[in-house]
Point group: C2
């Protein structure tokens, strides 16, 4: 009989749940909701429950056939206690939320809570671009830049659980202030948020770009939490829009320097790049790869394999389900 678990990937804009066959990695059924930065702890849990219910409906599977539920979320997590410690993208009222306990109360199955990038890395390790690779690093470019390290075939959690945070390494010591408060962090130059800020700046200064038409709803003078969708960025780059090409190239150069540092410091066999912006915008991937190989030690830079994540949007839910089933 197949073994099933539910994986939940809770992101800055949406929450995705899926019933996964944990022996094959197959997605049996899915549910999806938007998330809101205003959600308090109860609304957040309700949204997770609703997507889990939808995924089970879609898979035509009842909770009795589910071994466990794994949740990945962009934030600080205490995996041992099943706690969401806090997150930059959600309401400040979401602090020390005992997610695993709430899930156990609701469904009567054990739950595991992890960082969103760590679940994606486990997904790629088990069924994706990291299968059979002992020693790789995953980097996901989205709202922020997250990462995860697999060493000796295992996820490196780190002493306080934050290992892999390449987005928060300094690439320019006198550089931009990061959302986390740090200085010159890679995330401030190469994330979707950084790209959006740079584009809106160019539009505000009146530089001609088809992005002014493609982004009708953002007021450049008051962008708020605006984020350019990856598909729109791809369209503009494919149309050779000067603003888009220039800004994506600059982001790719920074990302490439970050990857070169990883190649020199961690010296992985493989780097797996994923996330919405990477998947959509080839120019970002290609620029980052070129710069990484050029800037790294010659031998290490030549030999490292730089590839795209294989499971796309599903790497997170697959990995979360695997963690839930093997915990």
């Amino acid at each position: 009989m197949a073994r099933h678990a539910i994986g939940v990937d809770f992101g800055g804009t949406k929450v995705l749940a899926a019933v996964i066959d944990v022996e094959s990695g197959e997605v049996i059924g899915t549910g999806k909701k938007k998330t809101s930065a205003k959600d308090g702890p109860d609304e957040l849990m309700k949204r997770i429950f609703a997507t889990c219910d939808d995924a089970m409906d879609d898979a035509n599977i009842s909770i009795k056939e589910i071994e466990g539920i794994g949740v990945g979320i962009a934030g600080q997590v205490d995996a041992e206690r099943g706690l969401l410690v806090g997150t930059a993208n959600l309401s400040r009222s979401v602090v020390d939320l005992p997610m695993a306990e709430r899930i156990l109360e609701k469904y009567g199955v054990p739950a595991q809570i992890r960082n969103d990038v760590q679940i994606a890395a486990v997904g790629e390790l088990t069924f994706g671009a990291g299968k059979g690779i002992d020693n790789f690093v995953c980097i996901f470019v989205g709202t922020g830049i997250g990462g995860a390290i697999i060493q000796h075939g295992e996820l490196v959690k780190g002493h306080t659980g934050n290992a892999g945070e390449l987005g928060h390494t300094t690439v320019d010591i006198e550089g931009r202030i990061c959302g986390c408060g740090g200085r010159g962090h890679l995330e401030s130059y190469a994330s979707r948020t950084a790209i959006t800020a740079a584009v809106l700046g160019e539009l505000r200064r009146g530089h001609p770009s088809i992005l002014s038409d493609l982004l009708p709803k953002i007021d450049p003078a008051n962008p708020g939490r605006a984020a350019i969708r990856s598909g729109i960025l791809r369209k503009a780059v494919e149309a050779k829009d000067d603003v888009a090409v220039r800004i994506v190239t600059a982001a790719g150069v920074y990302l490439g320097y970050g990857l070169a540092s990883i190649v020199n410091f961690q010296n992985p066999q493989r780097i797996i790049l994923g996330g919405g912006v990477i998947e959509s915008v080839d120019l970002l991937f290609e620029t980052a790869e070129t710069v990484a190989r050029r800037e790294a030690f010659p031998n290490a830079g030549k030999q490292v394999e730089i590839v795209r994540a294989a499971l796309g949007d599903n790497s997170g839910v697959v990995g979360a389900a695997v963690i839930a089933a093997t915990a």
Copy 2:
């Protein structure tokens, strides 16, 4: 009966050999010679043999009691084939030198060749500041800046053998050209070489400093391969010499940013700082620690233990001997 091996630490200015009791880590006897950048492969091997002979004489132990010889050297090494691939600090004629084979021919015992920082990390892991710690990073500040990663209790070698090279990660994307050809690497800001260059620049511009008296032999206009000895730097800092304090503080800030990136990316339980400059100049250690804790994620930065290497100059020879005895 005690088990003995010889560890050799071949650096930019000296080569140190020691007979080690590999069960206790005790140094039984030592030998030491200067090295020369002009040495070809034969001179280099002769120097190693002479220090090994001296160490055995000093220990009053014959080669029959030696299980193996481990050599650590600042350069690119092919550990599997026992090859010194090349090194920046020695003659260009030293390429693909089969050190393990030469040692076996000479002494009839097996030999292991490793990077100089990797042997020091193994020394600290086995008998020093990393004993019992599963997950730490060593950083050694000397002529360059080297590092090594211990993960899951094992040395992380990396796919091409260069894991741990924190000195060659970019901290300033538009920054100084590194000796390796890279740009903005930490080593260009915080190594003894970088500190020396900055000091000589200040002296050349006529800034008053007691270092002009302490460094009688360096011609600021033509520094060549000059390197300020750590003891002299310490004297100048202790005398509150403005040039020395300013330059060491600046180096410490860069080193601190590099460590903060490590805390965020690798999230180790402990960081072990070693090397001549760190041992001698407290201001460098203290500045780096303060900046690292300030710039890292709050929780990770608070919890990481930042300590000095415990074996001092001997971490390399102890580690090399341990590797030779356990290979």
